[in-house]
Symmetry: C2
DNA sequence: CGGCCCATTGACAGGCATCAAGTCCGGTGG
DNA sequence: CCACCGGACTTGATGCCTGTCAATGGGCCG
């Protein structure tokens, strides 16, 4: 639609809005456009042949998704929060890629940027233990989350999506959150907001330093014991 | 590819050998070369910070691995079987990419080819049930396996690697194989060889058509019931 | 022939998926 | 402004799956 406008150099991009749950593009559709996320969070969704849904990646402001690595999109892109995005014509994006390729001597980092989340998900769900997976997930995206007024990172993702991303059930995600809440690793001021309060512990659990999950339950509220490790 | 070989006298079509277990390149090393697998099977390996090993992808003859999508290799590449490979200089591979990009109007399919296995692994291990995962895994690679004399596909992969790929334990893989063996879906003439004997059933289980794993045990050897779907 | 590594099998317990019910919250309409 | 409603989250109970440990077997190589 506004591709013509975009072809004029120097023209200021007009970001299009999409409401929560809205579909940006569908898995299997031809890769005619590259979507650049300007604001909000989107998810990549794959539906198995008999209906079970997997969230294969979360995307944030600045990410480019729907790259024409193959003929068709490999996942469906949906808005998680309300988003703003810009659609780039495939051929134009391609020209920019080649130009950047020749100048920098390497591939456009955006290719890496779309593949990295997918790769990271494989690393995360390849580990066993829901709590570990949740912590690894939070660690992997904490840097890209918006910051609340009190300085804590906010996670406006529904738990159903997190469960579909972590290959587990919403109930298990909820229970994992409760454990982390009781450990004061995270706080949940509101239903749809999660604030990371103790990032060091979070990363410790994510990296598997806590060998036995049992230790999580044997939490000692004693201040000295807590700060010991 | 052929262009590369031509422009490098002396290295033309001379494939280098690597024995089973040998390392082609290490995770974190700078992407100086692209490795083209000519023969055999290789694996992509990632080791977590505290030591647990994950096989993130299997690669087969014809695949190009170690693509310079970022500055460093994202995984370690090791030979599973004995392999033959060709090493392409990064800059030369890059030139060929740009050329192919301009001519075909699309990215080199090899980029997709390296990312696809990683993506597929996420899909596979995102499902629950070891038997389902094993069947999905076999389905995803059955087309690329060598064929034995009697026409059955052969899978020369150690079960430890399959377990590390499927994010499960070697014991569970072994038990899943035993179930499939008893169902006459696969056969294992030798320790390191797996022949797919009933591909339709394999794909049925992989796609989740069998809703309850329980049904697998209640196998009906009746011919009519078997061929029903 | 002996040693080593991998595959196999059994026993066991713990984690987690599942089902079910209850609670909270935002949005809608009166 | 308030009541209602629907969806998401929460929590509990239960059984299965599977990870873990341990021991055995089997094949390959030195």
């Amino acid at each position: 639609m506004h591709n013509l406008a975009r072809s004029q150099p120097g023209y200021r991009d007009i970001a299009m809005p999409a409401g929560s749950g809205e579909i940006l593009f569908l898995e299997g559709d031809p890769c005619d456009h590259v979507y650049e996320l300007r604001r909000g969070i989107a998810r990549g969704v794959n539906v198995s042949s008999e209906g079970d849904r997997q969230v294969t990646a979360f995307f944030f402001a600045g990410d480019q998704i729907g790259l024409p690595l193959s003929e068709c999109y490999r996942f469906t892109a949906e808005a998680v929060t309300d988003v703003l995005y810009v659609r780039h014509s495939r051929v134009r994006w391609h020209e920019a890629l080649i130009r950047s390729c020749r100048e920098d001597g390497r591939l456009l980092p955006s290719i890496c940027a779309e593949q990295d989340p997918i790769f990271r998900r494989g690393m995360i769900i390849g580990r066993n233990g829901v709590v570990v997976r949740v912590c690894a997930f939070l660690t992997s995206i904490v840097d890209r989350l918006p910051i609340s007024a009190d300085g804590a990172a906010l996670l406006p993702l529904p738990q159903t999506d997190i469960a579909a991303y972590l290959a587990t059930s919403p109930e298990s995600v909820c229970r994992a959150f409760r454990q982390l809440r009781e450990m004061h690793v995270i706080a949940m001021p509101r239903r749809d907001q999660i604030a990371i309060t103790d990032r060091a512990r979070l990363e410790a659990i994510a990296s598997g330093i806590v060998t036995r999950l049992r230790m999580l339950h044997e939490r000692r509220p004693t201040a000295t014991a807590d700060t010991a490790f």
